[in-house]
């Protein structure tokens, strides 16, 4: 038997400092590569971009680069195109999110019911999500093109259009083009998330409610909706931010035109940077956009707080 007294246990030195340090460092070692990459490719440019907002940075002008204070913001406050882009962003985001959510929810409810061939049906209706966005944009632009696409002819035949023209070049209707493309592409996102939430609802709740005499509509209102509410809230809120910044479809389909009628803030930023190579002005708009998004997030947090307090 090797009983040890407390005294000779104390003789052992404490674990060396280095070794303890290594133990504490381990999670940081695992996450360091990702963090370094995020910092250099996202945080540094973010800071750099914020500084551009106060400088004159134009790629084509070698004498640019000087500090100009709030000039960009003054110009921005006079920029009618920017105000139009803000209004368009609201319209684009509101319509896209609402339609995606509405049709996504219906699709999720349809798919929640077991039926033969559900797996394959699900794969087919979710397929648009996998279609690259640039292709989605081109594809719908072609569908709206009266030369090779059927849509103008159908809309004309239905009496919705006066002539089989391209709605993408009609200032009144152009925004509908990217919105339709966006809805087509985004329905699966909502359907998938909502379907997952639906399938997490315990089945016996429905059975219990049915035994208690609740009709289908009552069951939907008293079981399904309350269960879905948190998922709906979070996906709609996050999706709103995401779609308001989603410029790919617009850049591919209309490039902001005709006459800036489809320009949203994100595509306006891209146009300033990409077409006009005015990085300073683009960064100033970015900064305003960032502030608006921060305000939106704060509002959501506040809303959440008041809702939590009310319970």
């Amino acid at each position: 038997m090797t009983h040890t007294s407390s005294t000779d246990m104390r003789v052992q030195p404490k674990r060396p400092l280095l070794q303890r340090l290594a133990g504490a460092c381990e999670p940081y070692l695992y996450s360091a590569p990702s963090l370094v990459l995020i910092a250099t490719v996202m945080l540094v440019p973010l800071a750099l971009g914020l500084s551009y907002a106060f400088r004159d940075v134009q790629i084509l002008n070698p004498f640019s680069g000087g500090f100009i204070g709030l000039d960009h913001f003054r110009a921005l406050s006079q920029d009618q195109a920017f105000y139009r882009a803000l209004r368009n962003t609201l319209w684009w985001t509101g319509a896209s999110v609402f339609l995606q959510f509405f049709f996504g929810l219906i699709l999720a409810l349809l798919l929640d019911k077991p039926f033969r061939g559900r797996g394959i049906a699900q794969a087919l209706v979710f397929l648009p999500w996998a279609v690259p966005t640039f292709l989605t944009g081109l594809n719908w632009a072609w569908l709206f093109n009266p030369v090779i696409g059927p849509l103008p002819h159908w809309l004309f035949a239905l009496g919705l259009l006066d002539e089989p023209g391209n709605i993408l070049s009609d200032p009144q209707l152009a925004m509908w083009g990217p919105i339709v493309a966006n809805v087509w592409w985004g329905i699966p996102f909502f359907a998938i998330t909502l379907l997952a939430a639906l399938q997490a609802i315990p089945r016996d709740l429905y059975e219990a409610a049915a035994i208690d005499g609740a009709g289908p509509f009552q069951r939907f209102r008293s079981i399904t909706l309350p269960f879905l509410a948190p998922t709906i809230a979070i996906t709609v809120l996050l999706r709103t931010v995401w779609i308001s910044n989603f410029a790919d479809l617009i850049i591919v389909m209309t490039n902001g035109g005709p006459a800036d009628r489809t320009q949203i803030v994100a595509s306006y930023i891209f146009t300033q940077a990409f077409k006009r190579l005015d990085f300073g002005y683009a960064s100033a708009i970015s900064m305003v956009l960032l502030v608006l998004l921060l305000v939106y997030s704060m509002l959501i947090v506040l809303l959440r707080q008041t809702m939590l307090n009310r319970d």
């Binding site: 381990e26 999670p27 940081y28 695992y30 996450s31 990702s34 963090l35 990459l37 490719v41 996202m42 540094v44 440019p45 973010l46 750099l48 971009g49 349809l110 794969a123 087919l124 209706v125 979710f126 397929l127 648009p128 996998a130 279609v131 690259p132 966005t133 640039f134 989605t136 081109l138 594809n139 719908w140 072609w142 569908l143 090779i148 696409g149 059927p150 002819h153 087509w184 985004g186 329905i187 699966p188 998938i192 996050l238 931010v241 995401w242 989603f246 410029a247 790919d248 850049i251 591919v252 994100a266 891209f270 990409f274 990085f279 960064s283 970015s286 900064m287 956009l289 960032l290 998004l293």
Partner: protein, 277 residues
């Protein structure tokens, strides 16, 4: 079956069918036009299927255009991004899943924030940063940028896969004589293989689709990715619809392949912060 439930069932199937038609019609049209010979393209207008199909457009696109180069570039960029991101995200996802450490909260917050903020505002500064390094007009530059954009989402995705593996397993491995890292490599990673494949699929799809940064950073044909090449083709030869759509069908192929691979993991992918939102 009562008459009422019969009607409901039929309505249900019809609704599903309507969704399927809506989802597939644009892709069908893409394929249809790409197979329609030029001489029928305008004369047959909105017919559902041309009276004669030909593969001329595909032949042209593959043999006489730059699309094979674009395709190769996109494959390289998307493939490398997927691999780089999956390696980094495995490590950081593991840290988030298995360790309780002080900065964890801040790391999660940072990664969530990067999912929220408008990447388009980084277009200009990133261009400015990469151009003195010679990383504009280069596939490497794109891989670096895309990797950074996809790491946060992939980290959350990998974390959710690691969370699904019982902690007991690596504790058993540690008692068997493994270090934390050996346990990670020999026990946890092999068990996460399906998750790793799914992450590769998600990141590949995202990188394959990226447009804005590719447009900004790439100017020559040599380093153009598929979206950039297709868009410049569209603006230059905007009447060669058959060829454009044949190129579009080609761009669709890898996306579809990966889609069917990652189908089972869509829910996990979208809730992890979502590739495309």
């Amino acid at each position: 079956m009562t008459a009422k439930s019969m009607v409901l069932t039929v309505a249900h199937r019809l609704a599903i069918l309507a969704y399927i038609v809506f989802a597939l019609f644009p892709l069908f049209w893409l394929l249809k036009v790409s197979l329609t010979p030029n001489d029928l393209l305008y004369s047959e207008g909105v017919r559902m299927w041309p009276s004669r199909v030909s593969f001329d457009h595909f032949r042209f696109v593959v043999a006489h255009s730059d699309f094979p180069i674009f395709f190769r570039n996109s494959l390289i960029v998307a493939g490398s991004t997927a691999i780089v991101v999956t390696i980094l995200a495995s490590l950081s996802g593991y840290a988030l899943s298995r360790f309780a450490f002080r900065a964890k909260y801040w790391i999660v917050a940072l990664m969530l924030l990067t999912q929220m903020f408008p990447l388009v505002m980084l277009v200009a500064p990133i261009f400015k940063m990469l151009s003195p390094l010679g990383l504009t007009n280069s596939l490497t530059g794109l891989v670096i940028v895309y990797s950074a954009f996809n790491v946060p989402f992939a980290t959350f995705l990998m974390q959710s896969f690691f969370d699904g593996i019982p902690k007991d397993l690596e504790e058993a491995a540690k008692i068997d004589g493994a270090t934390q890292f050996t346990a990670f490599r020999q026990i946890i990673l092999p068990l996460t293989l399906p998750g790793i494949a799914a992450t590769i699929g998600f990141v590949f799809t995202a990188a394959w689709s990226e447009l804005l940064f590719a447009l900004m950073l790439i100017s020559g044909n040599d380093a153009a990715t598929f979206p950039v090449g297709l868009l410049s083709f569209v603006s230059k030869f905007s009447v060669d619809f058959g060829q454009m759509m044949a190129a579009g069908v080609l761009a669709l192929i890898p996306a579809c392949v990966f889609f069917f691979l990652i189908q089972r993991y869509l829910v996990q992918g979208l809730t992890a912060g979502a590739v495309k939102g």
